[in-house]
Structure formats: structure tokens, C-alpha cells
């Protein structure tokens, strides 16, 4: 069945998807490909914690006079700051997506 006029607007007629030969159609939405978003977020948070730990350690060294190179600390601090901003940006975007779905009228 083809409905050219509305297909052009992005409408896809409700027909059974044509699967490539050799694959079985899976019912429901349990089909997951690639890394899960939650896992990626947890990984990001772990990384954030690691860089912030490093930055904190160097900050203590700077305070106690044990810091060998000034740029070691400033660069670690920059890395921690940018990583924090990135993690927060990803989290905010995820919340936006969630709220958008919650607002979706059903029925």
C-alpha cells in the first residue's frame, strides 16, 4: 500500500516491517543494540569522579607546596570542569527527553 501524499509529510503507513532475509521479527521493544544509555551515564559519572579526584589531589599538593608543575594542576582542573559540564549537559538532555515523553498525550 502506498499513500504518496502523506508519506511525503513523514507519515509511515502501518504495515508489517519487511525484515531482511535470515532475521526473525521480534515482538515488543526488547530489541537493544549498542550500549545502554544508563550504562553510558554511569561510565561518564565514574570518569568524572576519577578526574575530580586527580584535580583535588593536585590542589592539596599545590597548597602544601608539593606540586612540581603548576600546569599539571591547572590542566587537571580544566579537565574536571569540562567533564562535569559535559556530564550535566547529558543528564539535562536525558531529563528533557523524559519530560517530553511524559507530556505526550495518549489516546
Amino acid at each position: 500500500m502506498s499513500v504518496n501524499a502523506i508519506e511525503a509529510l513523514g507519515f509511515t503507513p502501518s504495515v508489517a516491517p519487511v525484515m531482511p532475509a535470515g532475521t526473525e521479527a521480534v515482538n515488543g521493544s526488547s530489541q537493544v543494540t549498542g550500549a545502554k544509555f544508563g550504562d553510558m551515564l554511569v561510565e561518564g559519572l565514574d570518569h568524572l569522579e576519577a578526574v575530580q579526584d586527580k584535580s583535588d589531589r593536585l590542589a592539596v599538593q599545590a597548597a602544601t607546596g608539593d606540586l612540581d608543575d603548576i600546569h599539571d594542576y591547572t590542566i587537571a582542573a580544566t579537565e574536571a570542569s569540562v567533564t562535569a559540564q559535559l556530564t550535566v549537559a547529558v543528564r539535562n538532555r536525558a531529563m528533557e527527553a523524559f519530560n517530553e515523553i511524559m507530556r505526550m498525550p495518549i489516546g
Binding site: 600546569h71 599539571d72 590542566i75 580544566t78 579537565e79
Partner: protein, 130 residues
């Protein structure tokens, strides 16, 4: 390649130039260090840099100048030998000062790279932001 490689590479450059500045500071501090003729002269340090495997730069080693130095006539010096000679380091102060400027400019250039990298990361974070 990691997300912060620009910073890591710039950091390696900052480190190498910092070491260069340290050697120059030591050389310039010892420009008037003389020794008696039966001892080695102060050996000026010369930094050798090379490309680092994972990107960036690293210090390959530090070469030193000839321990024979230069024989300078200074009879009033308490270290002077019977003929009135002392051993001065084999080093040129004007060359050291020139290298000091080069090391400083190199350090500043690497610092500028970190600044630009930060701005670039900032632009990436702005993508899609309302």
C-alpha cells in the same frame, strides 16, 4: 584518541618547556661560577627534546658542556693557580638569554593551546543548547 588529548599534548609541551626553563635558570645562575684549574668547570645543561610516542613532546635527555671549560686569567681570584688561571664554564650568556626567550615563548604557545582547547570544548557543549 581521547577527548582531552589536546590538553594532554599541550601539557607535555608545558612540561618540556618548564624543564628547559629550569636548565636555563641553572646555567644562567652559574654563569660566573669558576673553579680551580685542577677541577672540572661547571657543565652547562642542554635539553634534548623528542616527539613522544602517544603524541606530544618529551625530554629525551640532558647533555652537558665540556668539563674542560675555558681557562681565564684572574690572578686575584683565591682559586687561581700558580699562573693566575681559573676555569670558567664553557657557556655563552647571550645564547642562554636567547634560549630563555625561546623557552618562554614555547611555554606561552602551549598555554595558548590549552586556552583554545577549552574554548573548543565549550563550543561542543553548546551544541543543541537552547
Amino acid at each position: 584518541m581521547g577527548a582531552f588529548d589536546t590538553l594532554r599534548i599541550a601539557s607535555s609541551s608545558l612540561g618540556a618547556h618548564q624543564t628547559w626553563l629550569d636548565t636555563l635558570a641553572s646555567n644562567i645562575a652559574n654563569v660566573n661560577t669558576v673553579t680551580s684549574t685542577d677541577q672540572d668547570a661547571f657543565q652547562a645543561q642542554m635539553l634534548i627534546m623528542r616527539e613522544s610516542q602517544g603524541g606530544g613532546v618529551e625530554v629525551a635527555g640532558i647533555a652537558v658542556s665540556d668539563p674542560a671549560g675555558r681557562l681565564v686569567s684572574d690572578p686575584s681570584n683565591p682559586l687561581a693557580d700558580a699562573d693566575g688561571y681559573v676555569r670558567a664554564p664553557e657557556m655563552d650568556l647571550s645564547s642562554q638569554m636567547t634560549q630563555l626567550v625561546m623557552a618562554q615563548r614555547g611555554f606561552q604557545a602551549a598555554a595558548q593551546v590549552t586556552k583554545d582547547a577549552q574554548e573548543t570544548y565549550g563550543s561542543a557543549l553548546q551544541i543543541g543548547r537552547a
